[in-house]
């Protein structure tokens, strides 16, 4: 196997612009950017609250191009992926997408991502972090080709209740038949547009994948079709709110990638991230399996919980205390949820805390005119998602 990184002259560019940059820069009236995996990316375009509102009430477009992408092919592609990730990839049929995590030998999560089974034996793996090194090491002994093709695939996340209607209007015949995690291919501008019913918002939504030369045509077609459906560009701030509402974890935020950790107790296993459903011990081997079996036997150290935090102060990075005022964990992500109309948080707690009904308190520091104040806020453990609208799953989606 031979992993490849295209565009070997990458060092000549300090920061990339995505193929959508001519459009995104024109729309970014706030001129707020940050660097995401070496691409310049909009924090917000015009108003993050309104951008969020578009996700939940109309439709919003997010430039997903910087997401690290790999194309995985070859006779052993499936065997390789199955040894890499904890879930059974054989169950991800052609035309389907699966969320997955992969671990080191200690059963600690290195990263999470999505596996797209594009066509039989032809896979795309998207990851949060750069993974080529680990993939190359994991590929030894397999007849598989791994190409990091982040630069060769332009991608948009298109999320919100009116997305399906817009795509239909754009001429994607039959797009309404895609079920969640389904993939469809559509002719577009003389080429092929791939559409997956996936996303990071917990709402109805799609992700659109196209070769970079057709990126602007896609953007223009989308905005033309969406004009009457409230289409808006959205930046990472709005996405972050919807991501936490959906209860999705993020590498580097809710867990430390195992290969970046120095201290052994800083990493988390899939069980400790509430992702035990992604671990399939019926597979005879995958990296981390032995350690995870042992963890099942001995018990986990941590639990990731969703918290409903009383009051109106954000519990960002707060310590969580038990009734006896012992620190039992910390908040990893926190936000005011406009959809749930409450303060929500993801928190990593030491076992056994985090059971439904446990009495937990968040220690929140906040500033009032440069003066710090502190409040202890009661937290309630939530089972299930903070926000999970039926339209997320409905097929065909309702027309708006």
């Amino acid at each position: 196997m031979k992993p490849e990184m295209n565009h070997k002259l990458h060092f000549r560019t300090a920061v990339y612009q995505t193929p959508f940059h001519p459009r995104t820069s024109a729309l970014n009236v706030l001129n707020e950017w940050h660097r995401w995996k070496d691409y310049t990316t909009a924090d917000a375009y015009f108003d993050e609250t309104l951008e969020y509102a578009a996700i939940r009430n109309a439709c919003a477009v997010f430039d997903l191009t910087p997401m690290t992408k790999h194309r995985i092919t070859g006779p052993d592609a499936l065997a390789f992926l199955n040894r890499l990730v904890t879930r059974d990839v054989a169950k991800i049929k052609p035309g389907r997408v699966g969320y997955c995590v992969w671990c080191d030998d200690n059963g600690q999560v290195i990263d999470d991502g999505t596996i797209f089974h594009l066509r039989p034996g032809d896979y795309r793996l998207c990851s949060q972090e750069r993974q080529l090194d680990w993939l190359a090491r994991s590929a030894r002994g397999f007849d598989v080709s791994i190409v990091e093709d982040t630069h060769d695939v332009a991608a948009l996340a298109f999320q919100g209740p009116t997305t399906c209607a817009v795509l239909k209007k754009m001429g994607l015949a039959g797009v309404e038949k895609l079920t969640p995690f389904g993939i469809g291919f559509f002719p577009f501008a003389g080429g092929e547009l791939m559409v997956s019913r996936t996303g990071f918002t917990g709402d109805l939504g799609y992700e659109l994948w196209i070769e970079p030369g057709r990126a602007l045509a896609l953007w223009d077609a989308l905005f033309a079709a969406g004009a009457d459906h409230g289409i808006r560009p959205m930046g990472t701030h709005a996405l972050e709110v919807s991501r936490i509402e959906a209860g999705f974890v993020q590498a580097g935020v809710d867990f430390l990638p195992a290969d970046a950790a120095v201290r052994i107790d800083r990493t988390r296993s899939p069980f400790e991230l509430d992702l035990g459903r992604l671990v399939d011990f019926t597979k005879p081997v995958f990296t981390g399996r032995r350690a995870l079996l042992e963890e099942q036997r001995r018990g986990s150290r941590y639990r990731l919980v969703k918290l409903d935090v009383e009051g109106n102060k954000l519990a960002r990075s707060s310590y969580i205390y038990d009734r006896a005022r012992n620190v039992v964990g910390t908040v990893t992500s926190a936000v005011w949820s406009p959809a749930a109309k409450t303060n929500i948080a993801l928190a990593s707690l030491k076992m056994p805390w985090g059971r439904p009904g446990d009495e937990l308190w968040a220690e929140i520091y906040y500033q009032r005119e440069l003066q710090w104040a502190k409040v202890m806020a009661r937290c309630r453990v939530i089972e299930g998602a903070f926000f999970d609208p039926p339209r997320r799953r409905a097929t065909p989606p309702a027309d708006f």
């Binding site: 065997a79 030998d105 005879p284």
Partner: protein
Amino acid sequence: MTDVQPANKRRDDKVVIIGAGHNGLVCAAYLARAGREVVVLEAAAQPGGAAVTREFAPGFRVSACAHLLYLLDAQVSRDLALESHGLKMARSNLRTVALAADGGHIVHAGGKVESGPVSPADRAALADYHARLQRFARVMGKQHNRRPPRIGGGDRSDLLGAALLGLDIRLLGRDDMREFLRIAGINVYDVLEETFESPLLKGTLALDAVLGTNLGPRSNNSVLTLLHRMSGTAGGDYGAVALPAGGMGTVTAALAAAAQKSGATLRCSSPVARITLEGDRVSGVQLESGETIAAGTVVSNADPARTLLQLLGARHLETGFAERVRHIRSRGTAAKLHLALDGLPEFTGLDGALLGERLVIAPDPVYVEHAFDHSKYGTASPEPVLEIVMPSVHDRSFSPQGKHVLSAIVQYAPHDAGAGADARRGEFLERILGVLGKYSPGLRRQIVATELLLPADIEREFRITGGHWHHGELALDRFLMLRPVPGAAQYAMPLDGLYLCGAGCHPGGGVMGSAGGNAARAVLAAGSTA
């Protein structure tokens, strides 16, 4: 999610052992004695692995790889009653003759200089040095039969193992303990420089440290390998060497007899193609012939890289572990030279009565280091170092009447195979004969037949990755609980039912049998917890 099976649960009493090297045979003997059904599958036509005696020219026999015995585990010898199976020494406590081209040879044994141009200071220093290294080697020897402690596991026997090692070092006393800790990780060159004057003496002692390693005297770790070499008493005492009667083949023939007498089945000419799996554990092996043999336990005497990456396959291991195995350093540097001679050779200025001793060509430590330099870049030493024995002097079974056999370990040999290997072998042979000619000008005319095994040849004939003496470099990062790789130091591999028993495991290479015995104990311990 399925329910959890306890690790190492025994489902089948049968044990397949891949390889009838001496460690495989020791393991087989112990397991068979404990009542397990054992089948040993050896690729070669005869058992013994790198410890065999075979013909290399019509009428001439030689210990084909290992030729001196010094590490053989005393407990193994006793337990398996090897003497009753024919093991006997032709000579123990061989002297070492440090050859000098001008005839000013130094003869020493057991820390005592018997003859040669050595100052009184050096004589005293050698006695001290030898006695001290023997005390250190004894500490090393005590670890041979212990399961290496696992770090961080919190297992009581692991803690005990670690504590015992610590205690052994403490019991050396304050001065020795300090010295042990000072030199264990450094290089032999520095130690020799601070101890001796005579270049010839230092050169010979340096050779002992680097035999079988990819180290020069100035490489760190070369004290560790020296202590390892000295850590057995089979040669007569710690650091002494012996010649078994009939050569190394006698050792492994005795082991094979002991194993078979205990009920183990030995099948030669049966190369294993792969280790088979059922779910997440081993189910047996498949031979190159296609035949499959089912077994709940598979113990491999083949080296760790070969076992795990070839016979099993990286895809059946977790990524990090497979990577650690891939990084085992197994670049062999030792070649083996066998000369059939039509008479006893003469060495300038050497009393013929000493021809049966261990003759060493390593005139000074810098010479040894220069010989090593070339191996770093994959080429052969222009002036190699040699450890020579002539077993036919003691034992008439090696050669026709009046003829003799010279067996030499030669370093540093080119380790690459492939195109041009024969040309390189011819070139290296010329260099070796050139060096030998400086000490024994008439030798070349006495040669009737020659065999030179380069590491690539050893790899092919004995199926040892890289032709490496220890099945993988013996170094501080690959020692005790770190051998063969961290996470697999206790003979059981991270795949249920699979064990290693060869030189790649603790305590390392050399004809010793400790790894085989320890592996058998690990298999039995796992079985008894089922």
